[in-house]
Every structure is written in C-alpha cells, then in structure tokens.
C-alpha cells in the first residue's frame, strides 16, 4: 500500500497574475514541504495525459525541481487522471522504480482565451457536427442531460437547488474557496439561466490555479512530517466510446460512463463498502453530473439521488457529506485536484470548520468522460 504524505494548492482565483507553470510549481513545492521532504527526495512524476503535456510538461517540472526522473507516467486526462494517479504511483513504488512520486495538475482556464470552452475544439466530430449549432460549451451538454433526466426521473429545479445550496454552505464553512457569498433558495432561482435548466449556480466556477500531492510507500510515510493518508483502493474504468460521442450518443445516456465499474474496483481493492465512507468528494462540474454520480457510484439507486440528498443530507454534518470544501461548484474548478487535497486534509483532521467529525474513510470520484476513477483514502 502507498500513502499520500503531502498536499499543496495555490489559492484559487478567477484570474491569476501567475502563469500555469508557476502555479503548478508553487503547488508542488507546497506538497513537498507539507511532507517534510526536499525536492531531491522526489524521483517520480505522474500527471494527467491530456492537459498537462501541452501546458506544464513533466520534464519542465523535473528540471525546475532539479530531479533526475526515474519514473514518469500518465493516465487519462483531467478528473479521472487526477484520481487514478495513485494507481500508477503504486506500480512504480512497489516495483522499486520510485520512492516518492509527485502528482501535479493546474489550469489557467480563467485567463486563457476560450477558457474551458476551447477544450473540445480538439475533437474532430464535435468541431464539424456540433460547433456550427452552438453546441460547444459544457453547460449545453449537461443542460441536455439535465432536461432528459428531469423527463425520465421527475427531477425538479428545487432538487438541483438542494444540492447547490448544500455545497455552497460547505464552501462557506471551509472558507478557502473562490466564492464567499451565501446562497439560499431565492438566490438560486435568481441565478441567471445559462443552458436550461442549468443556471449559473449549477455550473462550476472557472479558475486559475493548481494543486499537487506527494506519494510514497506506507512504511516511508511514517517518517514524514504529517500523518499519512493511505490509498486503500483505486478503481479506473472506461467505456469504448470516444470523446466525440460520449456526451450525446451512449444509450442509455443518463449514466456516468464507467463510474459504477470504477467504484466497484476501488471497493474491492480496499475491502471496503460504501457504508464505510464518511465523506465523498465527487466531480461536480455541474449539479446534475454530481447528482448522477451519487447514483452511479452506488450510494443510491438510479433516479433516487434527489431524495437521497434531501433525506440523508450532504452538508458537513449530514449523513454523507459531499464536497466538503464546496466542490467545483463553490470552491474552485481545477478538475478535481482540489478534491484530492481536501480529502487528505479531512482525513488528517486539518479541515477546520469544515471538518467531518471522526472521518476515517473518504471517497474521491474523478470524471473525464469516457473515463472514471475512484480513490478510497483512509487514515
């Protein structure tokens, strides 16, 4: 087993004065210092396979840290890559190819022209068959999903409001995120419509920022500065549907691709069940996608997430605290690196006013369709 021994992040902002390489470096140095280690102790790097290679490549990071890399690897892009990274680090550490593996990830989608909306221009069929119809922004994809979900399962605007308001309350308790304004039901319904039925409040933030975490063997972790957080089990799964097709063509459409399988794998490897999970950090790019993942990860049956949220509660003191920092909706949108950082802080008891009392096991879900990853972390 491996452990996460250090975490770091930049303060999330809409537009940073620093470029994304500087942001990733800052987060990485913070993670290494958090572990009580030096750059020279790091001998492996994992990052995502889609976004970092073009903006903050591992060779640049290794050069800045002054480390001759013994191991470097990537799996998936964005969300799933961020959560699946411990799987690669474990392979390297267990086989003796690395002792301390750094993962970093950052985005400058607050300041980069086109922001997140430019991302899908890289897909040939999307560019040819979708963009001419004004269908190139993620809120429109998830607006279609949400409308269809409402039709099939009777979801209401009030149900979406429940999730958004609960996460905002979590964000205010945490206090470190981009949004500092409270949100009540009236405020939710006053939020401007972006792509029906999704309002601005249903859409994630846009952020310039980075995060990082450092992994080592469980034995070595005990010598580090902070209490180790063990990687109990990681699941990674995908469906054979291309990124061009995944938002519109799969049948059935209202299932988070590969989430159930990734969840099953992670639980199997950890020897844990969802009943053991004390909190969950779930890829909430939109209210509707978080709600669907609550179902697809197995916390409740399909179509029942709204009732689950209402009855069980997803606030810090609820039955299943979800996105204890406020999530991508109300903390920052760095594609889920903030979810890994927050889960580690929760399990160390460092979450301050947002601390889930007695948290022993946390689940992190990372989504980058058609891929999904689940990490079960524990004290």
């Amino acid at each position: 087993m491996i452990a996460i021994v250090g975490v770091g992040e930049t303060i999330p902002v809409r537009v940073s004065q620093k470029d994304v390489r500087a942001l990733c470096l800052e987060a990485s140095l913070a993670a290494i210092a958090d572990a009580g280690l030096n750059c020279a102790d790091v001998d492996g790097i994992v990052t995502d396979a889609g976004i970092m290679p073009g903006s903050v490549p591992a060779d640049w990071m290794a050069a800045q840290l002054g480390i001759p890399l013994g191991f470097s690897a990537s799996l998936s892009y964005g969300g799933a890559g961020i959560v699946a990274a411990p799987m690669l680090a474990e392979m390297a550490i267990r086989s003796g190819r690395a002792k301390a593996v750094l993962f970093y990830f950052g985005v400058d989608w607050g300041s980069r022209p086109g922001g997140p909306y430019a991302f899908h221009d890289a897909y040939p069929a999307k560019r040819v068959f979708e963009k001419p119809y004004g269908f190139s922004a993620q809120p429109a994809y998830f607006g279609l999903w949400a409308r269809r979900y409402m039709h099939e399962y009777g979801l209401t605007d009030d149900d979406l409001a429940d999730l958004v308001i609960a996460q905002r309350a979590n964000a205010l308790r945490h206090g470190g995120g981009q949004v500092t304004k409270a949100l009540d039901r009236e405020g939710y319904f006053a939020s401007r419509m972006i792509a029906d039925p999704l309002r601005a409040a249903d859409c994630c933030l846009i952020t310039d920022g980075a995060g990082a975490y450092l992994m080592s063997s469980a034995e070595r972790a005990r010598d580090c500065r902070k209490p180790p957080v063990f990687v109990r089990g990681v699941g990674f799964a995908s469906i054979p549907v291309s990124g061009d097709d995944v938002f519109t063509q799969p049948s059935p459409l209202l299932v988070t691709p590969a989430a159930a399988e990734a969840s099953r794998q992670a639980r199997g490897r950890a020897g844990l069940s969802l009943k053991d999970v004390d909190f969950a950090e779930i890829y909430d790019c939109f209210s509707i996608s978080c709600l669907m993942q609550i179902e697809d990860l197995g916390f409740c049956a399909k179509g029942e997430a709204a009732g689950f949220i209402r009855e069980r509660g997803i606030g810090i003191d609820g039955g299943l605290p979800v996105n204890t920092h406020g999530g991508l909706l109300s903390y920052s949108y760095r594609l889920g690196i903030e979810h890994m950082v927050e889960a580690v802080r929760q399990l160390r008891g460092e979450a301050g006013a947002a601390q889930v009392m007695g948290a022993q096991v946390g689940l992190v879900g990372g989504f980058s369709p058609p891929d999904y990853a689940v990490a079960l972390l524990g004290r």
């Binding site: 119809y133 004004g134 809120p139 429109a140 049948s251």
Partner: protein, 125 residues
C-alpha cells in the same frame, strides 16, 4: 485542417437537401458520429443510408449565455432521434419553435437552409 474522409458523405447528402447516416453493411446497425469502423462489429463497409428527415426530440436546451462567436443567444439546441435510423442522435438547432412549448418527444422535421452546411429542424404540428 483536412476533414476526415468518413465525414464527407453527410455533407454530400446535405448538398442535395437530404439527410443520410452511416450504417454498417455487416451488422446493419446505424452509428453516429461517422468513423472508419462500425463501433459494434468492427465492420469496415459502411453504407450511407438516406432517412426521411422526420425525428423526435430526445432532449433540448435553450442556450442563453454568449458562448459562441457566431450564434447569438438565445438559441435552441436539440438532440434528435430518428425512427428510420435508430442509434443516431443528431445535434441541431430548432427553429420556429416559439409557437408551442418545447417538449421531449416532440415531432420535428428537417429544414435545409440555402447557405451553409447545416440541417435545422422545426416542429411538426
């Protein structure tokens, strides 16, 4: 940038005010988007098959935020399914949709604008 070869028959059909989708000669199933191999059986013989141009709305959204450099909001994006091409969901814009509420399952018919390589849909009363 060169448009993938397998995309071209769609636009060749549009130029004749027709709608056609790729269908595998081996397993008979339609797929979308166009790709070199049938995603269901890996068959490489793809036959473009004309459809009547009548569909049903699978889902829709009104885009109200100014995302697009060309289209000005608000505009309606719909995902349309076809009885004569099961498995295909086409992204399009609904036009003339103001006279009745948008609804999933609504019957729509293809409209071919004179300019541009696009196919739009309008509700069928």
């Amino acid at each position: 940038m060169v448009r993938p070869e397998e995309f071209r028959p769609f636009f060749a059909a549009l130029a004749r005010d027709r709608l056609a989708f790729p269908r595998c000669a081996q397993c008979g199933r339609f797929h979308w988007y166009p790709m070199p191999l049938c995603p269901f059986c890996r068959g490489s013989q793809i036959v473009w098959t004309g459809v009547a141009g009548l569909g049903r709305v699978f889902s829709w959204t009104v885009v109200r935020h100014d995302f697009d450099p060309v289209l000005r909001p608000p505009y309606v994006v719909a995902l349309v399914e076809f009885d004569d091409a099961p498995g295909v969901r086409l992204v399009t814009n609904l036009i003339d949709a103001a006279f009745e509420p948008l609804a999933i399952g609504m019957a729509v018919a293809a409209v071919f604008p004179a300019a541009g390589e696009r196919v739009l849909f309008r509700p069928v009363r």
